[in-house]
């Protein structure tokens, strides 16, 4: 809990973060940027967990644990995703999402 900062402000921040992530995921064509946007969304949710835990149920710790899980899984996911993207780039020399349509037809 941070003194002088109300819950609503932090929620406003996470909401902004989340929709910036959504916006980025929808509009960006570069796979790396899309991955970064996904990370933004993920972190917004993680902050929500921590904040709700700290402000509303200070005697419990589940929210913190979940956040640690999310962070570690996000790391693993990022590693896998980047590996895939690198392989995609090696095969078709592009990281543009719209040009990766090998399996469309």
């Amino acid at each position: 809990m941070i003194q002088g900062v109300p819950l609503q402000h932090i929620l406003l921040l996470t909401t902004l973060l989340f929709f910036i992530g959504v916006y980025g995921f929808i509009t960006r064509k570069n796979l790396f940027t899309m991955l970064m946007s996904v990370e933004l969304m993920l972190n917004a949710v993680a902050i929500n967990f921590v904040v709700f835990n700290a402000y509303l149920f200070p005697e419990n710790l589940q929210g913190h644990f979940f956040t640690i899980f999310i962070v570690s899984i996000a790391a693993a996911e990022a590693a896998v995703a980047i590996a895939i993207i690198v392989n995609v780039y090696r095969n078709i020399r592009t990281v543009n999402a719209e040009r990766i349509n090998e399996m469309k037809h």
């Binding site: 959504v22 995921f25 929808i26 509009t27 064509k29 899309m34 999402a97 719209e98 349509n101 469309k104």
Partner: protein, 641 residues
């Protein structure tokens, strides 16, 4: 008790020969298939003769009655506890007699065809079909039950179809084979209905059970009726429709004259001696049932036979194609056989008609096969079917001439040739039972003599033809069957047939009834002399009479316009009236509604397929919009209350 299990080889040998000739196609030398066909039918004939000898003279008779023996039997399909279909071999006097007839004629035709079909493309195919036909026909006569008979009945129909259409490059042959198949198939539909009806009420297909005079069907017939007649009369009537179709009885006869498109030896085998008498055989097989439970159906048999005999004989007097004359004569003679069955009773002297019918079947097979083979010999020599192109052939083809004359005398009923004896029995049977049918039969006897001798004199006497190249006698291989059959036509009449075949299996003493035979001979001689006066020398008398008769002659010449009637019914009423409206309904209602469904689906899929772009970002957009929509919906409409 003798072991009859070798009978099964009578069926297996021709079937193997069929496979042998048919499967290699053109890879085998055609003469090999021909020789194998002849050898196999020869062994079948020998087996049949052995069977006939041991059945008739050694062990068929117990206490003076010929037994019905099941030579072999396999259960094929078991429908229920009581109803099953067997495949087996039944030996009784008529089936053994038919074995002899079929294998003899088939052997003659096999030998004859060796020379007649020589050099023909499809020689092996021809022998394959002949073997198939022989196999099916033998299976038909050996059948132990109605269903087995039906199976072989259809097989016979198929092989007849194949052989009529043997010259498949010729449109008329194709049309004829289709006509034969469709007309007989149509009749067989009646046969099948009859079988099912009978089996439904009696729970059996088995001939021995059905025709047992002490069995439940005959002593305690089903009482159910349908439209004023008992169901058994209906069943037997329907079965007779099948027989009438195969035996070319009026009004289902229209296929037989066209069937002459096939090779001539085929006509001799199938459309004169064996297959077309299958209907007679069927009625004879079921005879006790006809007589004792369905006498109305038997009346129909008698009158159909009588009418066909007369009808076909009149047409035969007017035709110009040698094979068609013989075809109509065949119809007429089969009409005789049906008539004889129709007027017969059961047991002892009353069963004379039955015996006469079988006797006539036997003798007719011999002399009619001879006539056809003789006609084949003539056609072979002059390369034409029309009697207008023939004449004075006695000079060129002496042996064909003599054998043909013998066959003509036999069919005309002149003693001592075979036809006289059997025809006499038929006339006696008809005389005792029904005077109207007797007078028809008597009149037809004269007509028969007339048209046969019209044919004989036109072909072998008559005017001198200017042949392009002089006709010559056929080779020995074709002459040999003619001579053998001519001998048979002379001698078979003296067989005391009643000793072997009778309605109840007991001996029936037969003697010639001169009070009926003499007028019949006289009438036949009148026919012969009339024909002689008209046709022996080239005169105008026949043309004058033809012109005098005018429309009547034309009516008969056009086969009483029955083909046209059929054509009218099928084309104008069934095709244009019924089928076209059904086709319209099918096309515009049923198909169109299905098409409509497809069209609507297609339209919508076309409209919404843009949504499936394959772009993940677009999907995300829709996903986000959807989830936000749901959140708003939940917040404002469900939670705030």
């Amino acid at each position: 008790m003798e072991n009859w299990s070798y009978i099964i080889w009578i069926l297996i040998i021709p079937f193997l020969s069929f496979l042998f000739a048919a499967l290699p196609g053109t890879k085998l030398k055609s003469s090999v298939s021909g020789l194998v066909g002849i050898a196999s039918i020869l062994s079948v004939a020998i087996l049949s003769y052995i069977t006939a000898y041991s059945y008739f003279f050694v062990s068929g008779k117990i206490d003076g009655v010929f037994q019905k023996i099941i030579a072999f039997n396999y259960v094929w399909v078991r429908f229920s506890e009581v109803l099953q279909i067997d495949i087996g071999g039944l030996l009784d006097p008529i089936s053994v007699m038919m074995l002899v007839v079929i294998s003899t004629i088939s052997l003659m035709v096999h030998i004859y065809s060796w020379s007649y079909m020589h050099g023909e493309t499809g020689f092996a195919r021809y022998y394959a079909f002949l073997s198939l036909f022989t196999f099916s026909m033998l299976g038909l006569v050996l059948a132990t039950n109605l269903f087995q008979m039906y199976i072989f009945w259809e097989l016979v129909g198929v092989s007849s179809f194949l052989l009529i259409g043997f010259y498949y490059e010729k449109p008329s042959a194709i049309a004829a084979s289709k006509k034969a198949f469709i007309v007989t198939r149509f009749a067989d539909f009646g046969f099948l209905l009859g079988i099912l009806l009978l089996a439904y009420y009696t729970n059996t297909f088995d001939f021995i059970t059905l025709t047992d005079t002490n069995g439940t069907l005959i002593t305690n017939p089903v009482a159910a009726t349908f439209m004023g007649a008992s169901v058994l009369t209906w069943a037997m009537g329907l079965i007779f429709i099948g027989g009438a179709g195969k035996s070319a009885m009026f009004p289902l006869h229209i296929w037989l004259p066209d069937a002459m498109e096939g090779p001539t030896p085929v006509s001799a085998l199938i459309h004169a001696a064996t297959m077309v008498v299958a209907g007679v055989y069927l009625v004879a097989r079921m005879f006790p049932v006809y007589l004792m439970v369905a006498p109305d159906a038997l009346e129909i048999v008698a009158y159909t036979g009588g009418f066909t005999a007369l009808f076909a004989a009149v047409i035969a007097c007017t035709q110009h194609d040698i094979k068609r004359i013989l075809a109509f004569s065949t119809m007429s003679q089969i009409g005789y056989m049906m008539l004889a069955l129709g007027v017969s009773g059961y047991g002892g002297e009353k069963g004379l008609g039955y015996m006469a019918s079988m006797f006539h079947l036997f003798t007719h097979a011999m002399f009619k096969a001879l006539l056809f083979l003789g006609a084949g010999s003539v056609i072979h020599a002059v390369h034409s079917n029309l009697i207008g192109d023939m004449g004075n052939l006695k000079k060129y083809m002496p042996i064909t001439h003599i054998t043909f004359l013998i066959a003509c005398l036999a069919i005309a009923g002149i003693p001592p040739f075979a036809g006289f004896f059997s025809k006499d029995e038929i006339l006696v049977a008809a005389f005792e039972h029904n005077k109207l049918l007797f007078s028809i039969a008597f009149f037809v006897a004269g007509l028969t003599a007339f048209y046969m001798f019209r044919l004989y004199f036109r072909v072998f006497w008559g005017k001198k033809q200017a042949y392009h190249h002089a006709p010559h006698e056929s080779p020995f291989i074709m002459i040999l069957p003619l001579i053998l059959l001519a001998v048979a036509s002379c001698l078979t009449g003296f067989i005391p047939f009643g000793k072997f075949v009778s309605s109840d299996g007991r001996e029936l003493l037969v003697h010639t009834h001169w009070n009926i035979a003499l007028p019949a001979i006289g009438f036949a001689l009148t026919g012969i002399f009339t024909a002689m006066a008209f046709y022996k020398k080239e005169t105008n008398a026949s043309t004058d009479i033809t012109n005098a008769l005018g429309a009547v002659y034309k009516w008969a010449y056009k086969k009483f316009y029955l083909d046209e009637v059929y054509l009218f019914v099928t084309k104008n009423i069934i095709f244009n009236g019924i089928s076209k409206s059904i086709a319209w309904f099918d096309k515009n209602i049923i198909d169109a509604s299905m098409d409509g469904m497809a069209l609507v689906t297609n339209y919508f899929s076309d409209k919404i397929k843009g949504a499936q772009s394959g772009s993940v970002q677009q999907y995300t957009w829709w996903y986000m919009a959807g989830s936000i929509g749901i959140v708003i919906f939940v917040l404002y409409f469900l939670m705030i209350k």
